[in-house]
Symmetry: C2
Subunit: 627 residues, 2 copies
């Protein structure tokens, strides 16, 4: 757990002076306060027909003066609801009022302002005004207060309209107010993919424990803990500070309780511990063929507690199947892409356990890894192992092997060019020989993540929007269960290598279309990719969420972004098209996602192509893996 504290703020809804929130808040242990920028009654006064818009621009209308608590206060913007009034004059006046508050907040240098999201049934003037405000706010962040309650299931839709019309401006974040009763799970989960910075809890959403101290219901606690993983802060909102707070410990008890919840979050699992610091962090996939891995990279991956154990199990089982007990036959093993030797070690261990005689070739192209391999042969393995410094695709082996062992898989299975490498290596596998792994399957699912979308789009270029990234997901909402797109099997005896031809690798191209149905209204930001691999018979490794090998941390999922987020209504369909393509020098992926409508009567499907529907990475223009 990296962070040990959480910031908790206070809102006193009846406060008419920053000193009230400031003095009482700090005294009770709060880190910041929320306060209306506009004095009570001003809005009503300005809206009277005899008062002109210009009257709004009076200093006396504003609650905060230059020097009081500017560093402590988040300013609340009033007069948002009437921005969509059908009455021209009301709308014009409230817009002037909002503008005045924005200018004042920017002038004071407040760290944040907070808008209350209106119903937006009538129109879209509120999003337009907020969009305009974002341009005027400088470094001040804009929160939008959205309440989730059991009844109102439209909250996320309102947010989605707002942020879309504000052009996905990353300065706009959510202040999520949790009502006394929460809606069902699916309406909560969609928020985990959104930029929720703040959780607002009214004192009325708390219940009392036996000693009379304020606590939250189990449902509130559970959702709050999930939100805490997104690094939120919390605001306690109370109508009045001196009201009978119906709670032992007074107003301070609320922040103490929130901090208690934060400190007592459950311990992280081993994968999450390993991933600490990598959540939602975009990494470019490895290019192991073009680049040589560094020692530190090997070091990290060799520590995986599960992966090598499963390889050892697979090798053990293959050895048993290959040769009867008590036979003198020597099984020839080849570890291709041996790296610093972890698989060599495990293969020898498997042979010892299985009581089988083996001879092992360790083939590796990286000259730096060869140094380690030779040292280990010298010190540990002796004559059992022959170290070969060569690219497996071009090696002329002195004999054929019985078992070919490789660990060339990427997060998407084939994305580190395992198929191409093993096409070359299977030349020296006996006709009856075994490849470990024997197959791998790539899986995809549509996903939502404002965080990842903003990360990718912050580069402001096409290239980054058309590149896959390896990412440990956190602020991500999967919109449907993953489906398989394609599989590679090894050995593949149909393959005839025609190395002179520019099309020699065409048999490794793939194309697959999968249809997904979404459960909730959502914004699709990209495609999540996973793999499952059969090492040998029923020995599997997997990073597919449903079948993930417990404790295995060598692979994070892969993320293929969409250039333009795609709105998918609840229960609607989206087709994801995926290609694996190649030319003589490289391999790349192309992808597109197309919403599909189904006619209720005829059941015919129509692809809804729109601006968001371009094919990504045409001809590998933005990203590729070198052969």
């Amino acid at each position: 757990m990296a962070d040990t504290t959480i910031s908790v703020g206070l809102e006193v809804r009846s406060a008419n002076n920053p000193d009230i929130v400031g003095d009482l808040g700090t005294e009770a242990g709060y880190s910041f306060g929320l306060l209306q920028l506009l004095r009570a009654g001003v809005q009503e006064e300005i809206l009277k027909p005899q008062n002109m818009i210009s009257n709004a621009f009076e200093p006396a209308n504003l609650q905060m003066t230059e020097n009081s608590w500017a560093g402590f206060i988040v300013g609340e913007i009033s007069a948002c609801e009437p921005l969509d009034s059908p009455d021209d004059s009301t709308r014009q006046k409230c817009e002037a009022l909002v503008k005045q508050q924005i200018q004042w907040a920017a002038h004071l240098g407040l760290s944040s302002v907070i808008f209350t999201c209106p119903s937006m049934d009538g129109g879209l003037n509120f999003p337009r005004v907020v969009g305009r405000a974002l341009g005027m706010l400088g470094y001040t962040q804009a929160w939008v207060r959205i309440t989730v309650t059991k009844r109102d299931t439209e909250a996320w839709k309102k947010w989605n309209v707002l942020r879309t019309l504000c052009e996905h401006n990353p300065k706009l974040v959510v202040a999520l107010e949790l009502g006394p009763e929460l809606p069902n799970e699916s309406f909560l989960q969609q928020w985990l993919a959104e930029p929720v910075r703040t959780v607002i809890l009214s004192t009325t959403s708390f219940i009392s424990n036996k000693k009379g101290f304020p606590v939250l219901s189990k449902a509130h606690q559970s959702f709050l803990r999930q939100l805490m993983e997104l690094n939120v802060q919390v605001v306690i909102s109370t109508e009045c500070i001196d009201e009978k707070l119906n709670a032992a410990g007074g107003i301070a008890a609320y922040q103490q309780y929130i901090r208690h919840i934060y400190r007592t979050r459950p311990e992280l699992g081993i994968v999450d511990q390993f991933a600490s610091g990598y959540h939602d962090y975009l990494q470019s996939p490895l290019q192991p063929l073009m680049d040589n891995l560094e020692s530190a990279t090997y070091e990290v991956f060799e520590k995986d507690p599960i992966k090598y154990q499963e390889y050892e199990r697979a090798t053990y089982r293959a050895l048993l199947d290959r040769v009867p007990d008590n036979s003198d036959i020597v099984t020839v093993l080849m570890v291709v892409g041996a790296g610093r030797g972890p698989l060599v070690q495990r293969a020898l261990q498997a042979a010892e356990n299985a009581k089988r005689k083996v001879k092992l070739y360790a083939v590796e192209k990286n000259p730096n890894a060869i140094v380690t391999l030779r040292a280990r042969k010298e010190e540990e393995w002796g004559d059992l192992v022959e170290v070969v410094h060569c690219d497996m695709r071009y090696w002329e082996a002195p004999e054929k092997c019985d078992i070919l062992i490789s660990e060339l898989l990427g997060s998407f299975g084939d994305n580190e060019l395992s198929p191409e490498c093993l096409d070359g290596a299977q030349r020296f596998l006996k006709d009856s020989g075994i490849s470990i792994p024997s197959s791998y399957t790539a899986y995809i699912s549509p996903m939502s993540s404002t965080k990842l979308y903003n990360e990718v789009s912050s580069y402001k270029d096409l290239e980054h929007m058309e590149t896959p990234y390896v990412v440990k997901f956190r602020a991500v909402h999967e919109l449907a269960e993953p489906k398989a797109v394609w599989r590679f099997d090894h050995p593949d005896r149909k393959v005839v290598m025609d190395l002179g031809s520019p099309n020699f690798n065409n048999h490794n191209t793939r194309y697959s279309t999968q249809r997904f149905q979404t459960k909730t209204d959502s914004m699709m930001h990209g495609v999540a990719g996973y793999f499952e691999s059969t090492l040998y018979k029923d020995v599997m490794i997997s990073i597919h969420p449903k079948t993930h090998s417990p404790g295995m941390f060598s692979w994070f999922p892969i993320f293929f972004p969409l250039k333009s987020p795609l709105y998918l209504p609840a229960n609607s369909y989206v087709d994801i098209h995926f290609w694996r393509l190649c030319d003589a020098r490289k391999v790349w992926y192309e992808w597109t996602a197309i919403p599909v409508t189904q006619d209720g009567q005829t059941k015919t499907c129509t692809a809804i192509v729109g601006a968001a529907s371009s094919i990504h990475n045409i001809d590998g223009r933005s990203s590729w893996i070198g052969l």
Copy 2:
């Protein structure tokens, strides 16, 4: 009629040699020919399992050699349909075949190649391959052959998927084949907004006239004439040149008939004559307040045969209403924005016709126009007219007038700041006085036009995508009838000018939301804008398509682009939100279009916000009109 000839090409579907099409085609008066690039039977051969992809790359597979007819032939690309085969090997081989043809066509420098659009039920590999081909074709244009028949109503949808996934590449154009029976009107009209470059007519789509010569049905003739307005060329397609063509005059008769149809198109109306050369040409709206109009601009607009006639009628009627017959009362008229004096002239004529005594002030800010006004006073008008060189917004008039006449309207009514100018000018209009015009209303409708979209997006910047243009529409399809967004009335006695305030003009802001229902599947590229104006009582001028003043040519419609085209299925709804906004120095429009779904049972509407749903021109960042 600018063009007097039309290019007609020939396709002989059984031809296995460019000489057949070339020799026979030129002999029979054709300007170009279509020919399969791949030899018959090659595709079948390559697809046999024993043949490898590399076998496709044989020169003998190709029909055209380097020197034969390369300047005459449009190359037909074979093997498109199996690009979406579920069989990996078939798909891989056909993709290699298509690529080979593309490279060969680019190498020969053919002016165009033509793809035949497959059914695309199975997948999206065809669009991907075409998209890739566009990058390889250099200056060679890509036609896609799409057939419209009575039965297949999906033709446009296929095209729409294709061009969208090819990222609206302007090199991709339509070769529209008209089947023997045409679908109903709405399925034809949608093509008029598309880049149809070629119309293909099979000889079997012709009928015979009494003399046995080939002619087209009335329906075919009518649609072909409409397409001819888009500057299409025509291709006559025949299975075999020596077949019994069932037509007098042989193959030559077809091209002669097409050329006859072209020559005998109906004469253009007066507006179209005036607009000749302006069709689909983007003009920036005038900025009459900031810039001074040039003499040539005045010259053009003064020639309008209808506008000034209607102003004279309105003035005549107002004068009759203002003063009884045979009265000595002098009616004070002011023409504000008098330009070179056309309205002054018409007002004096109206007074003479009405037998009313008048005094007229001609107020104009443009110093160059003042020269002309003073000369005309000297030579024509004498003491009846006083010429005032002043901006009407700031003029201190020596007396108040009875009738205030102005011609400040733009294509959208208020877009040349008539409201702001008349706010200023109404200071010197008597309380009981009359403004001509007395009101104007802005109208909008959703529209489709690939041509205009490509024109705007060719600038590759945000600014041009957020700017309105004045355009004479041609390759435009209106998706629904226009609806009114707002109206300005003059005089408006509620207005209190508060010139010192930065908000002095807020009363001229407007916001309006209109919902439209589309008739056919379509791609919305923008919003068309029009105005209707009441000059006085029932004297109107209008450029609204349904009420357009016949023969009036002073205004073309206005076009507000969408940054991202919006796919609208047939019978779906779209909300267009329009704002007129201002600050102290300028006025601008903002707009957005949001598709709306209606739940069949609950009738609740949900806005489908997506990537295409940004508000255009936020805060007037891209376009505005200076005050």
